[in-house]
Assembly symmetry: C2
Homo-oligomer: 587 residues x 2
């Protein structure tokens, strides 16, 4: 037996007990006549003491050989500490050691195993097994486990069934790129790894397996942006005989359950907002509504003053930044430079200071009088002391720019409080989205999303205006889930695929099994999927997902710890009937 | 709202209520003046009634258009049934329908959606979404979900943390074949799909993430035998600071919990048996101990009677088949032919009938007298009325043959009762196994398994005799789990890899990250993995796993429903820098 207790378990009530503990040496303080060792495991830290008066000399000598991260086992007696540490559960006791066994030695770690470490990100990823020993990473993984268990408890109580769908499926060129898996047994053929279990969960609904869920890995071979992973985890759900309202209620319940269980926060009914309203008011389909700074559209109140920039703009839009009228010219210039960065791409920014005395001072005083600016203040909801920031240009672009500015300012003003939670349903998404490069419309969610009743007719005439029974769940400015009511009618599905540019043959080859299934009694159905990695991060008050993934990959899709991907040997390639098609460089 | 209740919910207490139900038409009985429809969903069946006296004519006409598997919604009133069906919860009521909406029509299914179907296996796999509507499959999937939820409940209560390990990892030629995944972003390189999360869970232990579990898909590109799947699910577990005893206790607890929760069976301490004893007594390392027929070794008592077959045999072994002395000559001949089939491969079988009067009649009476045969009876535990079956030959082979015969006879005699559960730990597995083809030893479990203390020295002299801290959990003659205490010392791991034929470079290239990790303070650790698919099947009293997998693949590794794997288009291959290396047949 390696331990009678873990290192977070002992307290004053155990005083006098003989105990056995195991763990890692976190810290050693050697005062010569007295040595303290902090012993660490998953559960906490227990202080060990060796001292000249009470400890055998040989044992003290042995303790002096210990180094950081050594793995040891000790036996000893629980005694009361002289100087207590009330911050940890074991802080009132220590162990007077009588036996010490070194279970494994340790080289000096390449970075310190402390909450604040000196290790850079690449180094910590290479030695991820050491990084996981640090509380911030360890606690994140434990937190994730707790969240998933609560998800399962809630859904199981709601009579959902967890069904595993296959990982070796069929490649579909639609959507993002698939990772593929050559089949040795089926020469020249490939499986694909699922980007989501979408079609399978729909088939489960056709199969009557109402109320399905699964916490499942999904795969996308995309050029990775920061904080994207080639493999990621979804909470995937689907229900039959439901309308949008049923789905929103269930998953609002799930989210409320998680906020209560893991954050101890009680939230009432989630607000709902249409996609159009979100875009108009926040420039964004996943608005952070923990703070205001709602968009005020200023086209009407900026016209006819000979300010050509605004007169020519499709959209003129402003936000009121609370308390920012006091910004210096230098601070405002920095803000203007910020919106002009290529990542944001604004050409400039007009501002109005709303003085405490009710007057206004703007960068366009040449064109606009106090009455004009008062109108702007009204439209943006600006109060004395606020700064109105105004951008203009093409609607889509200026909304995105203003949204970025709004989020940046909120960040700077401390309005994005990690422990405040503001969930929001965004509903009535467009069915189709214009690809500006190709000029073609493609499915905004996926080709199985149902248009709103009666809107199918608009597909030909005004494809961009067709709204879908599609919804996203937004939490603190992040999309944490999204879904839709699906098409369950074979004819409508065929029409949709045609509009998305699939020939009849392509549709049959890729989705034939789903279309076939729809002929045998498909029920109305719909669902939702949460991005678990992000959900967990946001519930923990963080926005980067990497610490919530045990073994993440870097931005090149590499696991730098195990050094994957890597080359295969010739025999393996041959068995798979593959050749590399790589131009060898001539040396 | 599609339904106020599901189809398993209503009973006499709801009489008089107006309800809305949705589901599939299971059955229609049309008596002309009266039509009954069985409406089915995941939860049950509710009987609908339309009758001339109480139902509008138009509605009756509409009901007559219904076909099997149509998806419908009805409104109506709950009324008491005339002829009650006490076998189902809703059997005392029916719904007098006032509104009927056909939500989706259905073509005639290619097989009947009944508990006993007329569909063959391939057909049912092609239309798996219809097969899932059948109770046996539906119930199996729901059962599986319940088992996994109970696994998670138990392990979470025991303070285990579920951690997700990556799916895109590194290929290792050791063990079975990997499925590989070409990396587009890392030209010419491949990921591999995990055969198990073995190294990752060990790294989690090095990382201090004590008490890990995961229910996780694993992948093996093997030539498929019946009832093997290229992707399968493991309950994967690992613990730090444990000895074998700690692990056996936890997972015996888990298994006991499952038997209690899902089977309502209480089981005491699980028996334990060494590998050597299991092989000697049952010819098998996963013995079914629900019944006797233990092996009696007969070499000593068959010698010196000039029966050359036995005298020359390495092993002569018999079992007593209860009550089988009454077998006719024809029945015994059939048995002899059964053991001579190529799948079993015995050259013949000797038998002894133990007559009720205490005398014996054998097929070798020419060589053995009554006293000899009495000795055989004693060694095999045969009682009057039993039949002793005796095989002889090379130890390993004859044990396997006798084990197969024992299982076959138990099956025929109805001794393998699906609702009786006999768990068993098999311990002290050999560390290494001789590959008879190559003459080399390889790791019986995997290269990270720890030899028993003090046995490392035998590696050179008697590699076959080194025992490991390795154990299997056996249930009703099936291995449902297996694991070991791992090596946590870098030197021992290096020695093991050397003995397994890895050069230092190979060891470094493949397991370098694990060996490196062992330098930074690896704790003693060990674990276990359950094969979930089989575990679930056995708990349900079945032995085939396919019905417990929502979308299984066939024996060629194909998903015949979605028709995967399939060809990729040229562009996809090009992006992956791959060419097919297939000899095109000239037409």
């Amino acid at each position: 037996m390696y331990r009678s207790h873990n290192n977070g378990a002992l307290n004053l009530s155990n005083t006098g007990q003989e105990v056995t503990l195991s763990g890692w040496v976190q810290k050693i303080r050697d005062k010569g006549f007295m040595i303290w060792v902090d012993l660490r495991d998953r559960y906490g830290i227990t202080q060990l003491i060796f001292d000249e008066e009470r400890t055998e000399k040989a044992l003290i000598e042995q303790a002096k050989t210990l180094g950081r991260e050594f793995v040891i086992q000790v036996r000893g007696t629980v005694i009361e500490r002289q100087s207590k540490n009330t911050k940890i559960p074991t802080g009132e006791i220590e162990i007077l050691v009588t036996d010490l066994t070194i279970l494994n030695e340790a080289k000096l770690p390449p970075f310190t195993i402390e909450d604040e470490t000196d290790g850079g990100e690449e180094l910590r990823m290479k030695y991820r097994y050491l990084d996981i020993r640090r509380n911030p990473v360890k606690d994140s993984l434990i937190f994730r486990s707790k969240v998933t268990q609560e998800v399962r408890n809630f859904l199981s109580n709601e009579d959902f069934i967890e069904v595993e769908t296959p990982y070796l499926i069929k490649s579909t060129p639609e959507g993002a790129r698939d990772f593929v898996v050559p089949s040795r047994m089926n020469e020249g053929q490939f499986y694909a790894l699922p980007q989501s279990p979408q079609t399978f969960k729909q088939l489960l609904m056709v199969g009557g397996m109402d109320k399905y869920f699964q916490i499942v890995k999904c795969f996308r071979d995309e050029d990775l942006r920061a904080d994207r992973q080639p493999e990621f985890t979804q909470i995937d759900c689907e229900m039959a005989f439901v309308e949008q309202e049923d789905i929103l209620n269930i998953f609002e319940g799930l989210t409320r359950h998680l906020l209560k269980k893991v954050n101890n926060v009680e939230i009432g009914d989630f607000p709902r907002m249409t996609f159009d309203h979100a875009m108009k008011t926040y420039g964004n389909d996943k608005p952070d509504i923990r703070f205001g700074m709602e968009f005020g559209e200023l086209n009407e109140v900026t016209k006819h003053r000979n300010f050509k920039v605004f007169d020519d703009a499709e959209l003129v839009v402003g936000i009121a930044v609370p308390g920012a009228a006091s910004y210096t010219r230098k601070e405002i210039d920095k803000l203007i430079n910020w919106v002009k960065r290529p990542q944001i791409g604004a050409l400039g920014m007009i501002y109005v200071k709303c003085n405490e005395d009710g007057t206004f001072k703007s960068s366009v005083d040449k064109f606009y009088n106090q009455e004009d600016l008062a109108n702007w203040a009204e439209k943006t909801g600006a109060k004395p002391g606020d700064l109105i920031c105004v951008l203009s240009g093409i609607t889509n672009k200026v909304r995105a720019q203003m949204s970025a500015l709004r989020m940046e300012l909120a960040e700077r003003l401390g309005l994005r409080k990690p422990n405040e939670f503001a969930p929001l349903w965004v509903i009535d998404f467009p069915l189709l989205e214009l690809d500006e490069e190709t000029g073609h419309y493609h499915a905004m969610h996926h080709p199985f999303t149902s248009p709103k009743p009666g809107q199918l007719e608009l597909l030909d005439s005004k494809p961009g205006e067709v709204k879908a029974n599609a919804y996203d769940l937004v939490l603190n400015g992040n999309e944490i889930g999204g879904g839709s009511i699906r098409i369950h009618d074979k004819e409508i599905q065929a029409t949709m695929l045609k509009h998305l540019g699939f020939s009849e043959e392509e549709a049959k080859a890729q989705f034939g099994f789903l279309m076939d299934a729809f002929e045998y009694g498909a029920p109305p159905h719909g669902g939702l999927a949460f991005g678990l990695d992000r959900l967990v991060a946001i519930l923990a008050g963080k926005e980067t997902i990497r610490d919530f993934i045990a073994f993440p990959k870097n931005n090149a899709g590499r696991d730098v710890m195990i050094d994957a991907p890597s080359a295969l040997d010739e025999a393996q390639l041959k068995e798979l009937n593959l050749q590399l098609d790589i131009v060898q460089e001539i040396e």
